[in-house]
Symmetry: C2
Subunit: 429 residues, 2 copies
């Protein structure tokens, strides 16, 4: 019996790096004033389906045995952290202070066929700002800036954020005389998967468009600029509507706010649609330029009313979600991340014979009280074997108890250097 | 639609404390050289049932829609972290360095009826040491010592660890002439739930014991001492067997190793049985002396061969598990834990009008780069309202941009004091 297909688990030397990533995300989110929340893994299926999401991806849970209880709600594992957030905000509305800024780092589940980059269980790391009535557009720029800051610290160099605004697409399609824009956006969203020809033929076949109109719909998705020139490029297409202008104004504001980020990290990419209906303004898709075929590693956007199905209030928001497991697994597979040590231990205290065990325990305790991670080899076996244990676990220092005339000594396992050390003041270099 | 019954979620001011707890546990586990692992939430049902566990507690998962695939394994959510550990060690045996010391902090699920202290989803925080062939008895003492250290730091004062050894019970029952001791241990394990009379009558009714023998079986469970006197108390019962002596030796060793812990935190409690069959030596049950009816908040023990059903090797181990959610929920409900602030933000930078927003952004960035958690109020509303926001979120400092002849100023929200501050060197007190 082995680990189940589609589910990942890491070895200790990989997990220790994943923990560093999680710490960095948390630290950065908190540095911008986002508070942590966690929601149950489980929601009522009706809540999970409230957005009309792809229901075949949901895992339901049931008790293996025990009587069927009709009064019990039908339960499913959440497939993202957005629906649980909406339910949480609605449920605790009176206990929250708005603007409510939260981060949420949790596992989510989707019953998909396993394939590269698609897992059935994975970490998502979300931040969102939600407020009564309005959320200033500054936050639309803050979201990708925070993600960029995290990725920079993690050394993820080939990251690019593709930014668009749903009003640009909707306004453009309306300017072309199309009234029901949602089906068009849904097809445009498949660009990565089915290509330009696929989109053109679906626009014609599914929506009955003339070829000429379909081509004009597609034209806007050619526009991708690292600066504000997207505006001029749209003007060249000769389409106009108030909504289009509003969308371009918003996109320009966001791109302008992001001017401190190095060129070509933030792209105004007018092909980005995000299939989910609830986005109403800015939309994001983050990718690794190095691995274009791998697809999206973070995404998000602005919604005018997320909590609509849960509470009778207008609560707009903007948020972004990092697909941690997806990203981490890829960079690990591509050797872009080096595994860490197999143990968090910094110092192994060894002892020559069982009589001196208590002395070793005291030394370990002294070092531990000073904030170091310290362990003892379990038994007084040969010194060479104890050193081998340290080396195999990647423990950087080995501590020797005083012997004959000599005092405490520490051996640096990577340089091989050994020197006298005082356990009350010694620190790793 | 609200949160599902039996599942907990915390408000931000509660979650911030839970995070501190999780940090403290992790920090302490790592200080003793335990590495972190996580396993999938899901295992094959056959693996979950391999120990003959109470199967009605398992949640199975299924895809809501999509064709039934007979080739797919039947999957269930794990109900503890011990079975996943056994599977993990067996599966990654060749990649692990032994003794393997791991900690694992994850949610687990049980399909039980919700009631006080019983949740359907809860955090468990486990540490275990696993080795080839033998694990020194020192670790049996290290486990409760680590838990004590964590609880001391968290200010959980009424904690008591009840320690026994399965060999004591088995040896004692064998000394009484009973050969099949497992059913006796299972009944003795119910002492907390059904009381002494219940145990006596079940020993007679279920196992066909004479009343006199049943009473002698029960007599050992009267013994509970904070020191080594339990040995003398057992001798007074006039029962002897080699296994009993071995168990008493081991228990004495463990209690003696724990002599530095304040008296009456560690108890040799010969009533502790732990129903699960795989324990073979030391067993633990941690309780809150203040809330005796609340039952166990951490438990564990030694097993001679945990991974038996997964790999053909002898891998004994010893471990302990803290029921974080159970413990945290109780102390919160009893007001033994005070909620924290609603936000991790340390400084709110406010600005008098929209023109100075960029200046506020720069000041916030400067403070953030120095490691502080800083946010801006989203819009340039009245100062009183911005101060109110800080106060409602529990943000301790408010930052004012230079105004007229004055430089930067900081207001301490709890004292009301306001003073000049240099953003390049200022730190919270």
């Amino acid at each position: 019996m082995t680990k189940v297909s589609g589910f990942v688990e890491w070895l200790p030397e990989q997990r220790i790096v994943e923990l560093q990533w999680l710490d960095e995300m948390r630290r950065t989110f908190e540095s911008y004033g986002f508070c942590s929340i966690e929601t149950p893994s489980v929601e009522e299926i009706e809540a999970l389906l409230a957005k009309g999401e792809t229901d075949h991806e949901i895992y339901i849970i049931k008790r293996l045995q025990g009587e069927e209880d009709k009064s019990e709600a039908r339960l499913g594992l959440h497939y993202d952290l957005t629906v649980p957030l909406a339910r949480y905000v609605a449920e605790h509305y009176n206990d929250l202070v708005f603007p409510f800024k939260r981060y949420q780092i949790q596992r989510t589940w989707r019953g998909e066929r396993p394939q590269e980059g698609r897992y059935r269980e994975f970490y998502q790391c979300d931040i969102d700002v939600i407020n009564n009535n309005t959320v200033p557009l500054h936050f639309d720029a803050e979201m990708p800036a925070i993600v960029y800051e995290i990725f920079k610290r993690l050394g993820i160099e080939s990251f690019q954020m593709h930014i668009n605004n749903r009003k640009v697409l909707e306004g453009y399609f309306r300017g072309l005389g199309i009234e029901d824009t949602i089906p068009v956006i849904r097809i445009i969203d498949k660009l990565d998967k089915i290509g330009r020809d696929g989109v053109l033929s679906q626009l014609q076949a599914n929506l009955g468009m003339q070829k000429d109109l379909a081509e004009r719909c597609l034209a806007i998705s050619n526009i991708c600029t690292p600066d504000l020139s997207f505006r001029e490029r749209v003007r060249e297409l000769g389409v106009q509507s108030d909504l289009l202008e509003q969308g371009l104004d918003e996109l320009q504001f966001v791109m302008d706010e992001l001017r401190d980020v190095p060129t070509s990290v933030m792209l105004a990419d007018l092909s980005i649609a995000r299939g989910l209906d609830y986005y109403t303004g800015t939309v994001y898709e983050g990718k690794l330029a190095e691995f274009p075929a791998y697809g999206t590693i973070c995404s998000g956007g602005r919604y005018e009313n997320l909590t609509g199905s849960f509470i009778n209030r207008k609560l707009p928001g903007v948020g972004i979600s990092i697909g941690l497991t997806r990203l981490f697994a890829k960079l690990l597979a591509e050797h872009k991340i080096q595994p860490g040590p197999k143990s968090p231990t910094q110092v192994l205290v060894i002892f020559p014979d069982a009589e001196r065990r208590q002395e070793a325990v005291q030394t370990a305790r002294m070092l531990r009280e000073r904030g170091l991670n310290v362990e003892l080899y379990p038994t007084a076996i040969k010194q060479a074997q104890q050193l081998r244990y340290a080396s195999r676990k990647g423990i950087p220092y080995v501590w020797f108890l005083p012997y004959a005339e000599k005092g405490h000594e520490v051996k640096n396992m990577s340089t091989g250097e050994q020197a006298v050390a005082d356990p009350t003041i010694w620190l790793p270099q």
